[in-house]
Symmetry: C2
């Protein structure tokens, strides 16, 4: 195998990637009920006033406020009830001096009325309401446009749609919303030993794991995975796959353990674009490379499933989030105590998968890493710890920070 | 309006709800690529060994270990290369004494070979390999079933499928996975003033907000929202809607601001099932009720959008998570400094929406609440603070914990 020219530090590799990728500017319109977590591609401007009409803020009687002046517990004002208006209805006849209308919260204020007397401050007496408390004009009324004025910008381009922001869009009557398209990420495992799950396993073959773990990480990061299937160690086939994959926004290769594949792939990639780095001071993940071809980011991740997955978290996920216009998400972290001594390699940041368990009220992190090829370390892991490049040993009982694998 | 019999504390209401709802036991099969975040409805048992065959763990030469004994830098052992095996291939001819086979990482070990000499410790010399270092049997070989044995349980029923667990399922060749069905949650806003977004707004009408915010919260909690449209204040219509809605796993009503609707609804619900509580010491959210009808949870949330949403977070979300077999999710929280004095009501837990901003390196929480009906408090809010029921005042500058609204 070709030696790595120079291993670069993890942070530098992450920095190169994040500077090299750009948010996807394509826009699509989605129904409001499918918009959770999407990112607004335009400002949302109110086309209506909110509330759209002056409305009662309490149940009671709509009145001309001046008719209630002087009312009191012992000398109620008597107003003639000329009708009733419920939410969703409109009372057309304007009220005149000495009149009132029974009104429900949310119902439009009748013409002529400028206040609502709460039902608690009244008593019904046949066709009349006894008003026991005076109100000032505007009392218990939510005037048209009080909350939002027509033409007002209510949500900015770039806003991530949470439940509350979705509610704001619904409030002004939009049933669709313009959002940025999700970045489409082509996923290509290399190696002729790899076959898709569901097929029979011929001798010497193993199942494709990385397409599925990578797809899940891409999805979680707000991207749209495009599982393209395995490419063999053949120059023409690799070129064909790359051409197809470059229609998408980003391409991710994983591994290829057959002798020479990596060299062939990196040679083709170098020729078609610019390799930004090849080799990172991180364990696992040393052979990781990253290139830009025709403006599109192309990742070369290791083939071993655990290495590929931890690489996906540290390199691919932040890139996809940036392409998706999403803020960089933080892993959930917990403090734990290491269950046994762990050695690490100086000069390389090490990621170690761990299982966490509560014991006697403490949280214990048990290393579950067996070998790079081991699936059980993925099955049993709840997360990973990161051992900095300048640390070669973490003692049993030391406090570590566990980054939780989230769904 | 009917007075509340007794307001119960927030924690008691949450406790009643969580004890009353049960996980949904229906099972469905989904493609592996759609399984992120789903919950396994059965143990996953390996039908194959992993690795499925003994394989080389490094690039080099497959040898009979004993042939290398005594090899050294100055006296290499010379072995005849009888072939080459790449990952994905099988080399049929067994090797004999004095022979070796060029082998790639991941390739099956040829018959007769019991170790791999790393390429770094060899040199090619025509049809021969010079071996500069002895190896013991098993060196650089991953034996069949080393990682996982056929018949071994590798993931337990109830496991949430994260990217790594999905990888484990792929590793054993399953392209589908049996998961619990998502709880289906019927969403019904009440009130004849409410029309769906996208329709024209007749006088006196307002747009349906709660269906969309509730649907988003349900989705986020692992449920499947069923938006059923508005039900009017009519006994027969409410009964019809309830019958339809009770086909789902859970029913959520929101509000109804017209006089009498709430009474009518709660009367029908009381008659059809058991009302577990009606009225909570929380602000907003006082009129919240919760009932069980035919074993299914039925929520009555307030109509005002901000009240409905905060109720959804504190009451509905944990219930849906439990129905979905998911662990209770914690809101992301940040510590912030309150930008102004806030008064609260003793005896009621208050939720107050805030916007957060960084100023001079500190995180400031600005209350954005206007009125219960206000949409702008939803538009501008990044999260909320909770003022305990025994606190009536939070001073400007006090530290508060902000629960972030996540997408």
């Amino acid at each position: 195998m070709r030696p790595f020219k120079e291993l670069i530090p993890l942070e530098k590799a992450q920095d190169i990637i994040i500077r090299s990728v750009n948010p996807v500017e394509r826009v699509e319109e989605v129904p409001l009920e499918d918009s959770l977590g999407r990112v607004l591609a335009e400002d949302v401007v109110a086309q209506i006033n909110i509330p759209p009409f002056s409305r009662a803020a309490e149940d009671g009687y709509a009145v001309r406020a001046e008719d209630t002046f002087g009312a009191g517990i012992h000398n109620p004002v008597k107003l003639r009830i000329i009708g009733k208006v419920d939410a969703g209805e409109v009372f057309e006849t304007p009220i005149k001096k000495g009149e009132c209308i029974e009104i429900a919260t949310g119902a439009p204020m009748p013409k002529g009325a400028d206040a609502v007397v709460r039902v608690e401050d009244t008593e019904k007496d046949g066709n009349f309401a006894l008003i026991y408390s005076p109100v000032y004009p505007g009392r218990s009324v939510a005037p048209e446009g009080e909350d939002i004025r027509k033409g007002e910008k209510i949500l900015e381009k770039g806003t991530v749609l949470t439940p509350s922001k979705i509610g704001v869009v619904a409030a002004i009557g939009n049933k669709k919303v313009k959002v940025y398209a999700k970045p489409e990420v082509a996923i290509i495992p290399t190696g002729s030993e790899i076959v898709p799950p569901g097929e029979d396993l011929a001798p010497g073959k193993i199942y494709d794991i990385n397409s599925y773990t990578l797809a899940a990480v891409v999805k979680k990061a707000g991207g749209l995975p495009r599982i393209m299937g395995t490419v063999e160690d053949d120059e023409k086939k690799i070129r064909d796959y790359l051409e197809k994959a470059l229609k998408y926004d980003c391409v991710v290769f994983s591994g290829g353990s057959s002798v020479g594949t990596k060299d062939l792939l990196i040679d083709i990639v170098s020729e078609m674009g610019e390799v930004k780095f090849h080799g990172v001071q991180v364990k696992p993940g040393k052979p990781t490379w990253f290139a830009i071809i025709r403006g599109k980011p192309v990742f070369g991740l290791p083939g071993f499933p655990t290495s590929c997955l931890s690489d996906a978290y540290i390199f691919l996920k932040p890139a996809v989030e940036k392409m998706a216009h999403l803020p960089k998400s933080d892993s959930k972290r917990v403090k734990a105590v290491l269950s046994r001594r762990v050695v690490s390699t100086l000069g390389r940041t090490q990621f170690l998968t761990v299982r966490i368990e509560k014991e006697d009220g403490r949280i214990i992190a048990h290393p579950v890493f067996k070998t790079s090829g081991a699936i059980t370390s993925m099955a049993n892991a709840d997360g990973y710890i990161m051992i900095p490049s300048n640390v070669d040993l973490v003692e049993k009982g030391e406090e570590v920070e566990v980054f939780i694998f989230e769904n």
